[in-house]
């Protein structure tokens, strides 16, 4: 039988292992990475049907056996940066079995659940199945190539062939293949044209001028004029075509990045500042746009010029060509060294720039708070400090970026001195087939040749700078999007029965946000979710909204796993009203019709009426055409809340979720909102998070959440009779309300 383990069993304890498991192998193992004395090392827990064996150097003989019949409870104690596997004994006291980092915390949790389940008399095979699932979830390796995946369900970059950065960006150029080909042909043409004048000059110096042939001179000048007209006309056309192609390419990329950003899971935004995302969509794509324009407009021309001149120079005189190429290896080597030196610096510069953007996106929308706390000076000081840091980093970059290209240009210029010396010597010594005209042509070609060399030598700077931006963009493009496993799976309708089975969830491995949630909400139930701040109420709602997918256990709607239902359809069936509703910079009408673009005017009016919003909107001078400022400025908190309820009405959802919808409004507005909510929730499954328990008077079920667990669940009457946490909360609030009433009466008197 296969033994599940997160890592191979430590060799250090192999003798003890062989000794203990001589006859029978363990069911599964949890291999830790810390010793009990907090040093990196190895330890292991082996679980059998009747005991757990802990292997650690601190235990006598290297291991310790604890039978399940001795254990009252097994627990993983998460601390700061490490965790221990503890067992609480029936006879009292606690035994610390092993220590590990958070890398092994999830599988250790599964081990603790296994022991506790067995103690509670649960089915061993079922418990082992749950353990197996946890282990499988941990194994994030590509089944094809065996490489480690960034997360359990992620696509393998190796097998998808996505590893090459240039390849990824090239896909945006694919639709413009034809245009780019035309541009390239035009580039070849203009380059060929540009190579004619030096040849003609040489001919004039060697033949026309010594023969004093005026007619030939005029013919040559007219020929040159014709070449110039043709060259610059075609060049203008090429520039225009390339510019348009480059712009379309970049717009395509911006659209794609924005779309990806929209489909990234909430966990991405938990870890990445919005400022940094905005910087990537705007700043970094602009950087790539400049690069693309530089590549498509200059690099192509310079490349063809380089090749063309090299061919002509070789035809004119191969010896002199070799002399003129002397500086090239040095230029290439220095360019490479320069790239290595400046690349990391550009990355640091990017980070400093992103910090400034993040600061701006924090402080500019929060200008009211800054003013209210007269914190303008501190905000300016912080901004200045960030800019100074950027400047400091930029000065490092500027030093490297100035010295190296200048040095390379110097090397390249030295090449022309070599041509003058060697070519001049050939002319002076009267070498066969070498004339003054040829030298003049050669010097002209050489000066043209060094331009592209110079261009490519300095190109490394632009390339490295763009590379830093490209990597940041790939962060979004490669990030794992929200998984829509049930795409296209649209049930006829959602009735509204919600079941949560053994749900566990943590934002990161250091702390569990929800533990062992089991809850059944029947269709049409009005459920009040109560608990202190930080108890896990909103997290529970976030899971039901499918903002996070990486939870353990199952969430079912009408008996179907929500992961198997088309995500867009599923979310469209839920009306979500938040404590601080977000308004978009648009008209009141469009804010209500958000998400229902084809809504009829009267549908919107009706929704506003149900939400008790129609009254105040009709009193606005511009009615439904009132343009709201950013975040809804122009409306009061209660008015914004009613607009958001109207928005929920428009969706006609099967399930309604209110997250502290009346927390931030006065009692009169609360009454209006409450009235609107009561109209809206009729016949719909409703979940309401509320601090003010009075707002839950319609609830037929109350769920009390504390420290990520459901501690009480039942009808309000049942919970009051239980005299538990809910009862206490009701007592505290009614005392508070009475006091408030008394105070109000005293003030009136």
């Amino acid at each position: 039988m296969k033994i599940f383990s997160n890592k191979p069993f430590p060799e250090r304890f192999q003798p003890q292992y062989d000794d203990v498991f001589r006859d029978d192998a363990p069911l599964f193992m949890v291999v830790g990475d810390l010793s009990l004395d907090q040093k990196y090392g190895e330890s292991a827990l082996c679980f059998t049907a009747d005991a757990v064996y802990a292997f650690d150097g601190a235990h006598e003989n290297g291991f310790l056996r604890v039978g399940y019949d001795e254990i009252k409870e097994a627990k993983v104690k998460r601390m700061y940066g490490n965790a221990t596997f503890d067992v609480y004994l029936n006879e009292g006291g606690r035994k610390k079995l092993t220590r590990f980092t958070f890398a092994a915390a999830d599988v250790a949790d599964a081990g603790a659940d296994f022991i506790n389940g067995l103690i509670d008399g649960e089915d061993a095979a079922e418990l082992l199945g749950a353990v197996e699932n946890t282990f499988l979830k941990q194994r994030s390796f590509c089944p094809k190539c065996g490489r480690k995946l960034p997360s359990p369900d992620a696509e393998c970059l190796n097998c998808k062939g996505k590893g090459k950065m240039i390849g990824k960006f090239a896909q945006y150029a694919k639709p413009y293949k034809k245009g780019l080909t035309v541009c390239m042909l035009l580039s070849v043409f203009t380059t060929a044209m540009s190579l004619i004048p030096p040849y003609v000059t040489g001919y004039m110096v060697d033949t026309v001028l010594p023969n004093r042939d005026r007619r030939a001179l005029i013919t040559m000048i007219l020929a040159l004029l014709g070449v110039y007209v043709l060259q610059y006309t075609v060049s203008a056309l090429r520039t225009y075509l390339l510019r348009m192609t480059g712009d379309r390419f970049i717009i395509g990329m911006k659209k794609d990045i924005y779309e990806r950003a929209q489909n990234l899971p909430m966990s991405f935004y938990d870890k990445t500042s919005t400022g940094s995302v905005i910087n990537r969509i705007n700043g970094d794509t602009a950087m790539i746009q400049n690069f693309v324009l530089r590549v498509t407009q200059d690099a192509v021309v310079q490349f063809f010029t380089l090749v063309g001149i090299l061919v002509i120079m070789c035809c004119l005189n191969w010896k002199l060509t070799l002399f003129s190429l002397t500086p090239i290896p040095f230029v290439a080597l220095i360019g490479r060294f320069f790239g290595k030196k400046i690349g990391p610096r550009y990355m640091r510069l990017w980070r400093r720039g992103a910090s400034i953007t993040t600061l701006l996106t924090d402080t500019i929308p929060g200008i009211r708070v800054i003013k209210a706390f007269t914190n303008e000076k501190a905000a300016v000081d912080k901004y200045n400090a960030y800019n100074d840091e950027w400047l400091k980093e930029d000065s490092h970059v500027a030093k490297i970026a100035s010295v190296f290209p200048a040095f390379m240009t110097f090397l390249v210029t030295c090449g022309s001195l070599i041509i003058w010396y060697s070519g001049g010597s050939f002319v002076i010594s009267g070498e066969k087939g070498f004339s003054v005209g040829l030298l003049v042509s050669f010097v002209s070609y050489a000066s043209m040749f060094y331009n592209p060399v110079n261009f490519f030598a300095n190109f490394s700077d632009t390339y490295q700078n763009t590379l830093a931006s490209a990597e940041k963009i790939l962060d979004i493009l490669d990030a794992e999007p929200e998984h829509d496993f049930g795409r296209g799976n649209v049930p006829e309708r959602i009735e509204g029965k919600i079941e949560l089975k053994n749900v566990n969830f943590s934002f990161d491995k250091s702390k569990k946000a929800l533990s062992n949630i089991n809850l059944t909400i029947e269709q049409g139930d009005i459920v009040g979710i109560v608990g202190t701040t930080g108890s896990g109420k909103s997290t529970l709602i976030n899971l039901i909204m499918r903002y996070y997918d990486d939870y353990e256990g199952e969430i079912l709607i009408d008996g179907k796993n929500i992961r198997d239902i088309d995500m867009a359809y599923y979310r469209s069936q839920i009306g979500f009203v938040q404590q601080e509703p977000l308004m978009f910079k648009d008209t009141v009408f469009n804010n209500i019709a958000y998400g229902s673009p084809n809504a009829h005017v009267e549908q919107v009016l009706r929704a506003a009426d149900i939400a008790n919003a129609h009254g105040f909107i009709s009193r606005l001078p511009e009615g439904y055409d009132t343009l709201l400022g950013e975040r809804g400025t122009g409306l009061s908190g209660g008015e914004r809340q009613r607009v958001s309820i109207a928005r929920a009405v428009m969706k006609n959802p099967s399930i309604l979720i209110f997250d502290e919808a009346t927390a931030a409004v006065d009692s009169e507005t609360e009454h209006l909102i409450q009235e609107a909510i009561e109209r809206l929730i009729r016949g719909r499954t409703t979940l309401m998070i509320a601090h003010r328990l009075s707002t839950l008077r319609n609830a037929n079920k109350i769920v009390v959440v504390d420290k990520g667990e459901i501690i009480e669940c039942g009808s309000p009457e049942e919970l009051l009779a239980q005299k538990g946490k809910y009862y206490k909360l009701v007592q505290i609030q009614s005392m508070g309300e009475q006091l408030q009433k008394q105070k109000a009466e005293e003030n009136f008197e």
Partner: protein
Amino acid sequence: MITYIDGPEIRITPNDGIFVDAEFYHTKEKKTGLEPHRLFPRSGANRYIALLDENGDQVAVIRNADNLTPDSQKALTDALNEYYMIPRITKFLKMTEKFKIWMWTAETDKGVITFEIRNHIASVKPLYDGRVLIKDANDNRYEIPDYRQLDKNSRKMLLPKL
């Protein structure tokens, strides 16, 4: 209201690992099984340490552990050392990347460790005083007290990620 403990007005004795017992001289109160938590685990190791009871409710805050009697201080420090683990990186041995997954091997005060970094921007936070805070793919934390003090090779490896 927060109850602050300023100096030797409390006697702390060890209980079990991360737990301590406390005797408050002023109130003659004795509490057992308290869990000390640093309020500023990153910036002030010995200052402002909260004592939490079994429900996670705060009993008192010790303003400065250095002002306690040596015995109490030892009991408190032992419990804190048991709870907190922030390995201090002294040297980088290797940083390798394959398919956008970085594996860093570092020498720390707790021994040598290899950990996974998925995103430099989110996982590596340089502070302006030279400290660098690192969080790996498993949410384990590490600290470089001053990256400028690292050896040349380690700095060379780390620099592009800062």
